[in-house]
Amino acid sequence: MNGAGNGTGAGRLAGKTALVVGAAGGGNMGQVIARRFAWEGAKVAIAGRHKDVLDGLAEEIGGVAVPCDFTSRTSIEDMVGATDRALGGIDVAVNATGWGLLKPFLDTTDDDFDRMTILQLQGPFRFLQALIPVMERGGGGSIIQISSATATIMFHDHAAYMATKAGADHLIRTVANEFGHLGIRANSISPGVTETPMTAEAQAVPGLMEAFIKGYPLGRYGTSDDIAAGCVFLASDECFMTGQNLQVNGGLTLRANPSKADIESSIQTALQCEGRS
């Protein structure tokens, strides 16, 4: 999907206002979602920590840059307020923030867990609280939380990440149940392993990504474009879904992520191949 330019796509989000948080990393999932939304005709606000990156994307897609630190309640409330004023309401809101901490369970510190909880569980909680009055005023809206397949299936050394993502999914169900009557729909999307800046380090290790492929019935792992397509579907007026955790991961949850041993052997094999060539 070449997403540049505002409204050159099919117009499936024409006339809508959208806020995408977690779009301040070059080429990250939030950026891909924001580009796709703009391409579908939405007026888009993008939020995140790095103003210069946001400004660049805002200019590219004709959007609005709203700096935000998702670990701060005040910052989240300010972001929602600023977006509301700039766009005249918020019809669609996506939380694509995250911190992919990999650390053995027994080594994970209270500080790690606190940081993870503040970003990945309190963050969505505060975001949802701030969004609901704004969406109520606009007659409803669609909220999309980027979750993870690992909120359902296992991956080693990932407990704090997985637990907080699973917690946020349950917040989404709560909002769906309690605020559906206001026309607010709330869903989450679970990617599997995806080529994003968050996984850049892993992608650079020879053999590592290959270890994941076997877990995907469809024979490939996902892209940010797959997730953006899921977001457009959940964001559009035609979608009558709420309270759901949509698995956009090529069937990964039918199988499994690789074990530590699988990954190690895949890396060994890749290194041996490299050594021979």
């Binding site: 099919a10 499936r12 019809d91 606009g138 007659g139 409803g140 809206g141 669609s142 169900r173 769906a176 149940n177 309690e178 605020f179 559906g180 009557h181 026309g183 607010i184 729909r185 995907y216 019935p217 469809l218 024979g219 996902g222 797959d226 397509a229 899921g230 457009v232 579907f233 559009s236 007026d237 035609e238 979608c239 009558f240 879904m241 709420t242 309270g243 759901q244 949509l246 698995q247 956009v248 991961n249 090529g250 069937g251 949850t253 039918l254 199988r255």
Partner: protein, 264 residues
């Protein structure tokens, strides 16, 4: 606003070049017909199928589709249905199964005949539908089948119906896992209490309507068009989704199915 059922996008060619089989489209108020109409609007060649030839011919004519009689409990007619797609259009890309029957009985009164009838249509029929459609999908594709709210929340009197539908959802997952390498995705859609040809009689009973509506967070009933929209997305190349049961119950699965005593 975002839950309006009235705004349906005009066709954008989202299924252009594809051929779709839609099973269980014998009534203009059915999910099958709504899906067939939506798929046609999005550029697909459509074959609609059901037991009653006269019914589907008239509907097919209206939307420029092909009509093929087919009974889901007859395996030969399923393989013949897939063959029509290959003979007439040279390919099969999407298949959607809505064939279903009503079976209701309390567990104390349930009969082997009721269990077998439900199983034949909803469980065996669905599995064979997936088999024959998948065999015809040489270029990969998408297979969908109707699950049910009753699989996600307990509905009194629905042991035979929900048991067979739930079994079919497991078949969907196993099939998705097996067929992924052929580029075939397999999913189900669980509609909530949707006004359709099959449920229209219930919708005439105000007490039932009210009892169900109370359990729907979104505050309105799903429509056949809502179901068609999800079928469209899952059938398009955009959906990197397989082995899933997609809930379109207006959020009702977060709550419950009311008891019959509440209808009084």
């Amino acid at each position: 606003m975002s839950i309006s059922a009235s705004t349906r996008g005009a066709g954008q060619g989202r299924l252009a070049g594809k051929t779709a089989v839609i099973m269980g489209a014998s009534d203009e108020r059915s999910m099958g017909y709504a899906t067939a109409r939506r798929f046609r609007a999005e550029g697909a060649n459509v074959i609609i199928a059901a037991r009653r030839q006269e019914a589907i011919e008239a509907l097919a004519h209206r939307i420029g589709a092909r009509a093929v009689p087919c009974d889901i409990v007859n395996e030969d007619s399923l393989s013949a249905l897939a063959q029509v797609a290959l003979d007439d259009f040279g390919r099969l890309d999407c298949a959607v199964n809505y064939a279903g029957i009503e079976v209701q009985s309390s567990i104390l009164d349930i009969t082997a005949e009721e269990l077998r009838r439900s199983s034949d249509v909803h469980f065996v029929g669905t599995a064979l539908f997936i088999k024959h459609m998948a065999r015809a999908m040489a270029q990969g594709g998408s297979i969908l089948t109707a699950s049910s709210l009753t699989v996600l929340a307990q509905a009194p009197g629905h042991a035979a119906y929900a048991g067979a539908k739930g079994g079919a959802d497991i078949v969907v997952r196993v099939a998705a896992n097996e067929l992924g390498e052929k580029g075939i995705r397999v999913n189900s859609i669980a509609p909530g209490f949707t006004k359709s040809a099959m449920t229209e009689a219930y919708f005439e009973m105000e007490a039932i309507r009210r009892a169900f509506l109370k359990e729907m967070p979104l505050g309105r009933f799903p429509t056949v068009e809502d179901i068609a929209e999800v079928a469209l997305w899952l059938s398009s190349d955009e959906a990197f989704v397989t082995g899933q049961c997609i809930d379109v119950t207006a959020g009702q699965a977060l709550r419950r199915v009311p008891l019959a005593s509440e209808f009084a």
